[in-house]
Symmetry: C3
Subunit: 389 residues, 3 copies
């Protein structure tokens, strides 16, 4: 009696190969790569990025998304009904009327973009007289999360480590964007940084939309959790979100049948031009914090999805270059980035995880100070320029 | 002069690895796994499951379907125009108006399900007033045949062998079903058994439909072959099938241009709650028999497809939890399984292959006795509750 | 400090394996196979076919297309926005309204076919009274470029080398075509030959359309390049092409915003039944020449796409069994091949690359002689039988 060890999800296929393992003898930091086997994960590469305290599992095969992490033994993750990383070959974005993207959705941080993100729908290009010049159905959240990096390079030295991946989003007669994505962290830090450069390598002006879908579950999210963010303007996405405006940034515990509620904000900027969003647990002993450069990520979306654990108990803190509406709405409102041939746009985000009350307290004081300094207009109902269809 | 050995379809990539080969010194039974290379089969895992007399080739990569088998040197298979196992990455269910599933169809036994099966079409969910709440296009025969198992475990001991695979059919906002599929056989037996447990791992009630597409060609199928089954009710699927009601269970030889004919039945149950379907060759010297638990598989569909050999000369004996109509039809008629959160449904089937006339005779007597004990209503034309569109 | 060598695109995975390397000690010719890793190229096999002077990179994974080549240090290629060979698992032909094929388009020579090629659109089969019997949406350029060969065999001896690949294009209820594709070259030759046999392995009559999309960029294409071809009839595809009839076979340099122009011709045949198309650079020092058997490839299409370099500066010389309109148009005009069960059709093409002025001059004299011998009708506007929609 014996078992065929086909459950190979955690088998390392190259971790003992020095070419796939980088480390520095002066600290505990390292970068290594393995390839998953079995099920929908077959062929997915995972890079384990550890600064000695904080560990992140990066997925080059899924557009350099960050699957999950861990700090001080505390998991940074959520539990999607899709339990394992899904190889893009198994994702058909056109499934379910254009929301097939959800078949592979389970990351801590995944990008929506590059050419578009947001709800599926028909994008019509109009001429000056308002006639339809061309139209194209754009499925949910774009291509980037299902495009593999063709090049990944890592660096580990005494003080810090860094991982860069290159992902092409191109097609003949369909644009030529490239993402150069860099993940950085200092040794033993509680922080990490993402610097993404998107370049238009084609000869025609290109449209770019980017949204960072940063998704956190327990233990950061629980009944009584709050999202702290500073904004100059706040509105519910739709009537369903409007019903709970008074509790817009407070969370329920896992609730079977809860239907997602989404809030749109214009982020306030601090002296360095940074916006901020923080999720704290009810006890305020844990915080997951994202700071983002508002010069290219002026909008911050809060996705509340406190469904039952088995359906995905999670919230999304989502800095974006635009709102996740169909691109036509965003274009009309001037929120789509227009990149000249050869031009680039850089998106900068830094993340901090606080695991003790005093640091959580400091972070919340920072957010409060920023909000106090910047008056906020709150809309009780959806703002037409933000939510039009 | 030499050849590049790229024709690697039959190359074993792990069969000599003891981790991928299970056997017991006390018998000839074994379970081993290899991976196919080349063409559309690249990356498809095949588990060879042999009880010493009966051999089955199982495809973990294709939802634990059974590609083909052999007993006493007699092949259990049919010849599809699709000649080799197809990796799901090459199957687009939306192709050809939603029948892309057929691009990978060539198994002896393949599952249609889990969330739905049957003809492609739009599934509309209605509220109590009959208004459309949501609608979704569902392509032919569901997802399960194109989802790979993420875990496969085998056992071989002196008396019997067993193989279990786990397949997830899940999506964010799209349900969370899991198939635990077990294949069993006693050493040197002419029988094998399938026990499939489908569990709703989500927190919302889920719909389940399952159909076992058991497909047999020559030498079991020939001119004058018959399908013997006991049923309480029988109807042609459509007008084309109705034309040949008097010959509904008798087969032609390979016939170029034959257009498939399908018959729907409600299976009769024996004292143990089992239904039965048997294909015999014209000589009644060979029989392929399926028995199935009618508590969860109450329906039995006969698919006659006696096309020319090159187009796929085959018949399907298909126990189902529902008929292969669009799900909306099945829901309206109350044939869709509703699984509460955490609940499971078990599908049980046992197969027997008889290769001598005396055993064939015994099996047919069993079927006759059951049919005699349970009167049958035969409809000359399609039954509206079964075939409505 | 060290780099993870994930940029593995040029890593050979089997080239040192004698089973994957064929050579003959009497010359410099060889055939070898490697597998690409990383990005969208993961899993793509590349066969390097070298006759000692001319090298071609063949892609069994992409229907035996020829990615690129080199002769005397001069590249035979173009630069698509899609920079690397794309595994078919990453190509969804239904994307962008049915032009997803373009996501993987970057070859020197790629086949469009086998069952259809040309513009995406609905193909309606009509009965004799003109009623629609069936209809199916057919995406751009068919399936063959995204189907992997399941068998590849090579031969190298003292005088010549040859590579044959077998690709199935089949589906249950969807036809059963097979391509047997052979690439041949003599040692140290400036020529190579393609012999493609397409066989209908089903039992029903099958339709076949084939187009050889031969795509060349710099240095063969430059400002002042010309396409020389002999034809009996010439017409612009559409009004946009008609605008520049006087310059129909003369090329611009890279031009940002240039919109493709396409010209349709009926090829003239020489004494051996061959048609010819030649691209020369402005200086007439380089020529890329294709000769083709007009008995099965009677049409020659010129695709001018002198966009900016970054968008794909390229022209296509395209011998075809039909024009690249939707199949319904081609059927109506009698240009679709009808293959009886078991029947085959053979497509023959030979290519020559000239790298000195004297040989270029000889080739152009051959084309001129053929054109002079066969009067040409030139249409200033689209010919309805060729361009109807």
């Amino acid at each position: 009696m014996a078992a065929i060890p086909h459950e190979l999800l955690n088998v390392d296929l190259g971790i003992h190969d020095t070419k796939h393992h980088l480390s520095d003898t002066r600290n505990e930091a390292s970068i290594s790569m393995k390839r998953l086997m079995g099920g929908l994960s077959e062929g997915v590469d995972v890079v384990t990025f550890t600064n000695g305290r904080l560990t992140l599992q990066v997925l080059p095969t899924r557009g350099m998304g960050i699957w999950k992490g861990e700090i001080d033994g505390i998991p940074l993750q959520w539990h999607s009904p899709v339990e394992r990383p899904v190889h893009p070959a198994f994702v058909d974005p056109m499934r379910r009327g254009g929301i097939g993207w959800l078949d592979g959705f389970n990351e801590l941080i995944c990008r929506c973009g590059l050419g578009w993100h947001g709800a599926p729908g028909t994008d019509r290009i109009l001429d000056e007289s308002g006639n339809v010049v061309s139209e194209q159905f754009l499925p949910l959240h774009g291509r980037i999360a299902n495009l593999p990096a063709h090049r990944v390079v890592g660096t580990v030295d005494a003080d810090f480590l860094q991982l860069t991946g290159y992902v092409d989003e191109a097609s003949m007669f369909g644009g030529r964007l490239q993402l150069e994505s860099t993940l950085k962290s200092a040794a033993n830090s509680t922080e990490f940084e993402i610097v993404d450069v998107v370049t238009n390598r084609g000869s025609q002006t290109a449209e770019v939309e980017m949204l960072y879908h940063c998704n956190i579950g327990e233990p950061f999210l629980d009944a009584g959790s709050m999202c702290h963010t500073a904004s100059t303007e706040l509105a519910p996405r739709d009537a369903h979100a409007a019903q709970d405006m008074s509790m817009w940034n407070v969370y329920h515990g896992p609730t079977a049948g809860y239907s997602e509620q989404v809030y749109f904000t214009k982020a306030a900027s601090d002296g360095q031009g940074l916006g901020v969003g923080v999720l704290t647990n009810a006890e305020s002993s844990l915080a997951f914090c994202v700071r983002f450069d508002t010069s290219t990520l002026p909008w911050f979306v809060l996705w509340k999805n406190t469904q039952a654990r088995n359906d995905g108990y999670v919230t999304g803190l989502e800095p974006g270059s635009s709102f996740p509406n169909v691109r036509e709405v965003e274009r009309r409102s001037g929120r789509v980035i227009s990149l000249a041939p050869g031009a680039s746009v850089t998106f900068r985000l830094s993340f901090e995880v606080a695991t003790d009350k005093s640091r959580v307290h400091q972070i919340l004081e920072e957010v409060t100070a920023l909000q106090v300094a910047t008056p906020r207009t709150t809309h009780a109902t959806p703002k037409p320029e933000w939510s039009a269809h």
